[in-house]
Amino acid sequence: MSILIDKNTRVITQGITGSAGSFHTDKSAEYSPHSYVGGVTPKKGGTTWTGKESGKSLPVFNTVAEAVAKTGANASMIFVPAGGAADAIMEAADAGIKVIVCITEGIPVLDMAKAKRFLANKPGVRMVGPNCPGVITPGECKIGIMPGYIHTPVKPGSTGVGVLSRSGTLTYEAVFQLSQLGYGQTTCVGIGGDPIIGTNQIDCLKLFQEDPQTEAILMIGEIGGTAEEAAAEYVKKHVTKPVAAFIAGQTAPPGRRMGHAGAIISGGSGSAADKIKALEAAGIVVAKTPADLGTAVKEAIARKK
């Protein structure tokens, strides 16, 4: 089992002919060839895209609606440049795509505010990102820019861990440590580093709590906003599974944008210390350093036994 995506997910890439879109569709199709069914680039409809490494050939369409009609796609991976990415999200939702994963970074905040309002009227549509590494269910489906090989499917007898994170490389670090400790991952969700995101921490916690294969959850957060505090509150009330966490940015100076637009401490709220306090108060094991992400999960599991 898994959350959001699995072996039956059918994916199209919006912006498939751009350099990033093409490169990462190729890498993703190499990992889970059965998942990819097509691509969209306006005015390139009718052509065929072929991946250099995967050898996969996919039909290119002018619109998402056409791609859905012809391929039966139910998920989309967006690499459309920042100026048009919010529009691409709304196009996908309108065309009936159920899981929209937006990788693009640098989208204007107000564009996302509009897209978020648009999605509120599309029940059943889930958007992940933007400015995120994507979603992977190891061994079944990869939508995004994460390196597939570091992930481990959950094997019979091994413990399945669900991972949700605001960061990219820090997630790879976490997954690498989990795999080394022998933990498989049910699904890893990069929820994105922007101030406005689609699927948030609580959405993921809820899905992982409901997923029978997920036995423990690792949440990687960073400074800025109060989403981790809200997530801690949610865990306290609704999550019975072991939860471990890490917050990046304990040494970040206030008021500065630390790479991710969302990672700004403002007016005393959003600091790492506040978040860690809230997480620990909810019984979550908080890793002291990024080298302890795997062992924090181990401790969380041991505590619940």
Binding site: I107, V109, L110, I145, M146, G168, T226
Partner: protein
């Protein structure tokens, strides 16, 4: 992107908000001339233009008497002498660094002595992704303090990005703030201007503090602060000239030109990392092992996903240009990018830049074995490079070397 008070007020005025007249000055003589123009037989305000807040309560560093960045001048000579001091000494406020900020622009503003002050701001409510207009009649006070102690005194209205601020919403907020019938019209104008500026120019924050009713009974924007969303810069070329590079760290400007995300800090361990989250976590790690020895990170540096030899070389040059740096911590998790390529970039940087401090390298991920071979082959040629087996070892090693 932040802008100065005068730029923020000129933008708000262009959207219909009443603001007191001001003249932008670059020299004490211009300040004197502006005083003649605006004092109208009385006095005028002399206001230093720097991005940091808290100017009024700040202090000119090196000046023996108490003088901040905002001062009422009762006559021409006083205006000129205040300006001379402001142009001479850097201004330190609670929001900027210990060395303060050099003042290169002053505005002279027509006197508009407030009888009552209000606070108004528009920013994003991250909890629901909607712009939020908030206001309080407790102007002049620290708004964060009001939010903490008297949250009921802050009025909030969520504004739809499709409609912008609706007239009834602006009116409701004006009435909630307790304005009398005579003032509702001009207050609505200010609120509407704030919303228009926010939406039409992709601001991430518009703050008017204070919005004042003057002793003469006029509603005016006395001070304002605006921050623009850098992601939307591509569709607002008209705002580009408002950027004041003298307010920014020159090394950070240089880093941005090389597509590096760099923020200077005050520690002694330079950090070079791929990915923003890992870069923050690496700083935390340096702090975790170094804190007891007074050792911390010298910078945040995210080289991004696609590290090239060229930008890695520039990254090392930038880190080494900080004379405080005693050791460098390279922490790279090669996901899609190959560790071998990063190792090659390191060797190139070592040859071209020359490492005068130890460089502790922790690589993991794609093609890590090949990367270790590359670095091992140059261990006599570039002895500064020290490869650490694990992340924890690397952090401990770099702290030890920076002692």
């Amino acid at each position: 992107m932040k802008v100065h008070e005068y730029q923020a007020k000129e933008l708000l005025a262009s959207y219909g908000a009443p603001t007191p007249k001001h003249v932008v000055c670059k020299t004490p003589d211009e300040v004197a001339a502006a005083f003649d123009q605006l004092s109208n037989g009385g006095g005028a305000m002399v206001k230093a233009q720097i991005h940091a807040g808290g100017r009024g309560a700040g202090q000119l560093l090196g000046h023996s008497e108490k003088l901040g960045g905002v001062k009422f001048a009762s006559n021409r000579d006083k205006a000129k002498s205040i300006a001379e001091l402001m142009f001479k000494y850097p201004l330190k406020t609670k929001q900027n660094g210990p060395e303060g900020q050099k003042i290169s622009t002053i505005i002279v503003q027509a006197d508009a002595e407030p009888a009552k002050e209000y606070y108004v701001a528009m920013t994003l409510d991250r909890s629901n992704g909607l712009p939020l207009l908030m206001a309080s009649a407790e102007g002049g006070m620290d708004i964060e303090e009001v939010a903490e102690k008297h949250p009921e005194k802050i009025f909030k209205i969520h504004v739809s990005p499709e409609t912008g601020l609706l007239p009834y919403q602006a009116q409701k907020l004006a009435f909630d703030l307790g304005f009398g019938n005579d003032h509702i019209g001009p207050v609505v104008k200010v609120l509407t201007a704030i919303s228009k500026l926010y939406f039409e120019k992709d601001a991430s924050m518009v703050e008017v503090n204070p919005l004042a009713v003057t002793k003469k009974g006029e509603v005016v924007v006395l001070d304002a602060k605006v921050d623009f969303d850098d992601n939307a810069g591509f569709r607002h070329k008209d705002l580009a000239p408002l950027r004041d590079l003298t307010e920014e760290n020159p090394t950070e400007i240089r880093a941005a030109a090389a597509s590096l995300n760099y923020i200077q800090l005050d520690g002694t361990i330079g950090c070079l990392v791929n990915g923003a989250g890992l870069a923050m976590a690496t700083m935390d790690m340096v702090n975790y092992y170094g804190k007891e020895f007074g050792i911390g990170p010298a910078n945040f540096l995210d080289v991004g996903g696609g590290v090239t030899a060229e930008n890695a070389v520039e990254a090392f040059r930038i880190i080494l240009s900080d004379s405080k740096v005693k050791a460098i911590f390279v922490n790279v998790f090669g996901g899609i990018a190959s560790c071998a390529r990063i190792a090659e970039a390191l060797v190139k940087a070592g040859r071209e830049v020359g490492f005068k401090v130890p460089v502790v390298v922790r690589l993991e991920g794609n093609e890590v074995e090949k990367a270790r071979e590359i670095l091992n082959a140059v261990k006599d040629e570039i002895p500064a490079i020290k490869v650490a087996p694990t992340l924890t070892d690397a952090a401990k090693m770099v702290v030890e070397l920076a002692k």
